[in-house]
């Protein structure tokens, strides 16, 4: 015991931090990579939903007409009669339609209404970008267990960032300008890892910290309960209850006009319904702080009951932190910056996982063979397998018939089915000791899926092409094409590595 203690205290700080960084980074990194990839996609969740509903042609940013609001009211009443929680999102620059939104398990069912004519738009049912958004913070494991797990992983990320900073602190500046892609195997990975981590450190730290703080109530439930009792919790919570005795919905037009006067033009975001009141929430897109200011109206008379605004120092800090993480306020260029930072974060995790394996592969004995196979298979199945599965969802969206009744289930099942196949393939390749071949095969599949996606988009959207604004479709297509070409480049690089290994 004393000898062991002497050995531990004899290690340098960097060595101890290196061990912590490697193991916490690897164990948490596999799932953190999934969180980062889906979070990166969730930055453009609305645009992805639009891409996944290619029939959409109309939309208007103007205040919804009375006919459209009456149609939304009718749909809300129908859903309330079936004891469903419903909300209505108002037209915005990113999504210029009125949507009746109903959470259904881990998915969201939306009915789009033309804000001018009030007609229900005949759009295909899709999981849309919400699939990635919800996966990002629940891992599809439920709003309790999933969120708590993501919170724990967030703490793990902060530990990994802290230990990484200690390891690289001495050479932080030289590392920033040193990238040797043609260097010896671990060196090139190391350079890529350090550059991605150090350049985007403020972003990575910000998203980790704010992400954990947003759902901190879940990891400190005993202390959070008192906040809910005190009424200081996020607005809207605990107001839904049962809609069995809900009063009829009053005319929404005057309510919306009054709320627009309060929050300004374009400042209204969505409507929530409780049995006794209708609340109009301030738009998250209107300011950086996600204030969730709300105006509450009597459901019997339609008169305003109260306006809730939280303006204390800590409340404003919370709103800023939430806004920074969610990026609902961000204009398109800033969203692209978030997207790029998310990709850099994913590169940091991917290269870190690969380095962990490279080091262990050299020293692994036959006793550790199965553990190494499992680690290599899971790493490949996550680093390449999950992006393949995400791309497969987009393909399934366009290839599965629009009239299929279980479209949403099919799309979300496609994510896990394809991901599962990729993991099994990766494990099999690792077991055969041909994991590098596995990397090349999955990377080639990913490159094909991404590079051909624009062609699929045009082929399946042909009939509506002339009546649509193209920016959202172009954005998704261009991003997938660029990523596809980058993966293709990586594929060629892997091919050369395999040839070099064969010569040896």
């Amino acid at each position: 015991m004393n000898t062991a203690r002497a050995v531990t205290s004899g290690l340098s700080l960097r060595t101890r931090m290196g061990w912590l960084h490697a193991w916490v980074g690897f164990v948490c990194g596999l799932l953190l990579l999934c969180i980062f990839i889906t979070g990166t996609l969730a930055v453009f969740d609305t645009e992805i939903t639009r891409w996944m509903q290619p029939e959409f042609t109309g939309g208007s940013l103007a205040r919804p007409s009375d006919a459209a609001l009456a149609r939304a009211s009718a749909l809300v009443s129908e859903q309330e009669a079936q004891h469903h929680r419903v909300s209505v999102t108002l037209p915005s620059a990113r999504d210029p339609v009125l949507r009746v939104v109903q959470p259904e398990g881990m998915d969201v069912i939306t009915t789009a209404i033309d804000p001018v004519t009030g007609e229900v738009l005949n759009l295909r049912k899709t999981v849309g970008g919400t699939l990635f958004f919800r996966f990002h913070y629940t891992l599809r494991m439920g709003r309790m267990f999933g969120v708590v797990l993501v919170e724990a992983l967030g703490i793990g990320l902060l530990v990994t960032l802290g230990s990484g900073l200690v390891i690289h602190l001495r050479a932080l500046v030289p590392n920033l300008v040193m990238f040797r892609p043609n260097g010896a195997s671990p060196r090139a990975w190391m350079d890529a890892h350090v550059i991605a981590a150090v350049l985007f450190l403020p972003f990575t730290f910000m998203v980790a910290w704010t992400g954990v703080v947003i759902h901190a109530d879940r990891i400190f439930p005993f202390t959070a309960e008192t906040r809910q009792e005190g009424g200081g919790g996020p607005p809207g919570r605990g107001q839904h209850g049962h809609h069995r005795d809900a009063l009829p919905i009053p005319a929404l037009g005057p309510i919306l006009d009054d709320a627009t006067q309060l929050f300004g033009e374009g400042g209204t975001g969505f409507l929530q319904f409780s049995p006794r009141s209708v609340s109009v929430m301030r738009s998250d897109a209107s300011t950086l702080p996600q204030t969730r200011d709300r105006a509450e109206y009597d459901r019997r008379t339609g008169k305003r009951l109260k306006v809730t605004r939280q303006r204390s120092g800590p409340a404003q800090t919370r709103q800023v932190m939430t806004g920074l993480h969610m990026a609902h306020w961000a204009p398109t260029p800033m969203r692209w910056l978030y997207f790029l930072s998310g990709i850099a974060g994913s590169v940091m995790f991917g290269t870190g996982l690969v380095m962990f394996l490279l080091k262990r592969r050299r020293t692994a004995t036959s006793r550790h063979f199965l553990a190494l196979v499992l680690a290599e298979g899971l790493t490949l199945g996550t680093v390449i397998g999950l992006p393949v599965a995400c791309a497969a969802v987009l393909w399934a969206n366009r290839l599965v018939p629009a009239s299929l009744t279980d479209r949403m289930t099919t799309e979300s099942a496609c994510l896990f089915l394809v991901w599962g196949i990729c993991v099994v393939h990766a494990l099999a390749r690792a077991l055969q000791k041909h994991v590098l071949h596995g990397w090349r095969e999955q990377a080639a599949l990913l490159a094909v899926l991404l590079c051909l996606l624009p062609a699929l988009d045009i082929a399946t959207r042909w009939q509506w092409l002339g009546q649509q604004k193209q920016w959202d479709y172009l954005g998704v297509d261009a991003a997938t094409l660029m990523l596809g070409l980058m993966v293709l480049r990586g594929c060629v690089f892997l091919g050369r590595s395999i040839k070099r290994e064969a010569v040896k």
Partner: protein
Amino acid sequence: MKLQMHRSSKKDRNRMPSQEPGTSAPSLLPARLLIALLLAWPIGLAITAAVPSLLPASHADGLFVAQVEAVLIMPLAILFLCGSSTLSRGLLATLAAFLATFPLAFMFLAFGSP
């Protein structure tokens, strides 16, 4: 000799953590990490329970400040416990960080008290 020293320091700068002597023998580090993981959540919980009652703010605001601090202290505690040369030093550093959250809490009110 000077040149040699310069070379060795440059080498050291580019050296990866695993290449450092002693990496292969972390011995008690897994046990240290386990202790850190077991202590981290109770520390966070203690902060979220204690700090709101100290702040001259509404409970909701106090709880938010406490949560922000707890989320920072939890990973710090793990880093301190695993990074210190002995466990007792790690525990002392963690205790210091825990106690530091209380005076720090008041700084959040600089944004404007309710």
